[in-house]
Amino acid sequence: MTTPLLEVKNLKKYFPIQGGIFGKTVGNVRAVDDVSFTLNKGEALGLVGESGCGKSTTGRTILRLLEKTEGQVLFNGTDIHALKKAELRKLRPEMQLVFQDPYSSLNPRIKVGEAIGEALVDHAIMSKKDVRDYVKEILTLCGLAPYHIDRYPHEFSGGQRQRIGIARALALNPQFIVADEPVSALDVSIQAQIINLLSDLQEQKNLTYLFISHDLSVVEHLCNRVGVMYLGSLVELAPREELFSRPLHPYTQALMSAIPVPDPTRKSERIVLQGDIPSPANPPSGCKFHTRCPYAVEKCKSEVPQFKDVGSGHFVACHLVAN
């Protein structure tokens, strides 16, 4: 077997909670709590979960926008968190990020052309002279017009700005792109355009995606493997068809049934979860989901379930799932 493009091993990211007059660390928010997965070249892995489940933090820690607490992130076999600052900078063009908010992720005082092309010049990949034509090419590829190159971000709509963000990430010709909720700030009709763009680009450039979203239906459309996160941990990870036809974890099932279906004739027998998501600063013992799980038994309160393979690449962390 070939080495995977990305290998995340027991990644943990804790944010210290400071309290008292002297700012002593009184506890930790376990935003990412022991997450492991691998990602092969050309794959698109979806990471799904509700707010505060640590999916965005996972994405950012993988790119080392945040320093890890424990664990390893291997990119083509190189541990990203062991690199020096200058080495990391050299590796940056290989791994890019597309942001959720198309407004705050573009610098309002930098023209679109410069935003897309500056990194190429800064990394001395291209000369200032050639970059302009290249940027025009990338703009066209992302569904914008070449004359947009000299405009400022505020002249664009949300969907167009998201295209600019994608063009910026794409310009460096990366192998791996983390897309952090790239469509959730957009209107439905624009969402579809961006999803199609992302899937076309993946096909053409053989890109590898880590696609972070709270929307299972978007993830189903774009990803060939899907992981479900709850309170900092992966609870289920499986190939797309497998996960959507046979969700095993009670949380995955609840998440799926909670999505409103645009069909008034279908009265869904919905699993409405009780209560709120517990605080990641003080997660429940045992299985973290047991406080809201409709099927929880005694064992779930005390014992942490193993994240185990139940066949055909389907991983799940639940005591109630027998292999």
Binding site: L65, D101, S104
Partner: protein
Amino acid sequence: MSEAVVRSNAVEVKPPTKKPASPWRLALREMRKNKLAMAGFVVLILMFLFCFVGPLLSPYSINDAMNVRNGNKPPSAQHWLGTDKVGRDVLLRVMLAGRTSLLVGIVAMMVSVAIGSTLGAIAGYYRGWVDTIIMRLADIIMSIPSLPILIILGAALSELKMDPANRIYLVMFIIGFLSWPGLARLVRGQILMLREQEFMQAAEVLGLRDRRKIFRHLLPNTVPIIIVVATLSVANGILTESVLSFLGLGVVPPTPSWGNMISAANSMIEFQKRPWLWIPPGVCIFITVVAINVMGDGLRDALDPKSKR
């Protein structure tokens, strides 16, 4: 590149109708709507013309021989603002003094902006010990009472018998150096806020160099604040210079400045009997400072996105 992608995702390609509106241009448009600020701006322009073009139109020159017999004449047709005690034309001296005062204000501002924005940006970007050192330095400078320092420095300069022409430049730099900490604090605060913005994370992911991140991405976003503070600090520089020169410690005669011209009012006779000696420079200081402050307020409103609807 596949045609299909282009077609299915294309945004309608219509040629650009108007010139791209940069954030600066938008601010300028906003500024034009503010009548008071524009009035301040016009007054300032007139003041500059008065000081820099005016002397060229005057029949008198700085090199005219002194003529005590012609001294202390009240305003007349030949001398619109009268003459001083050695017979020099006051109008000409007010204009020339304006050159000095405006120049001092502007150069002091530039010194202050250069030091303040750079150090503020570096402190805000790197945080940690770099920040601590720079900000403590700023605290120290801010906590020194500036007037005594300037007075001592002025006295020392007088002792050193410095050439008056060079002395002006030193005054500019000292005023500028003592006023950067305020700006540095403001810029640092802005940078601390801006560096958490998503576009800075984007810059990090792109692997841009620190220099580029600070000077191309962060600082331009603080320029609105810098402009406002800089404008107001020109006024401040002019005032400080006046105070110093009035006390005889800033710009010293024969070079005229508004400040050392007012010092004529020091003597009771001049104050009571010869108001044409000190009223014109006083009025100039007043008009200039008010105009700059009004314009500064207008700039703040135009450049601050929060004050917009």
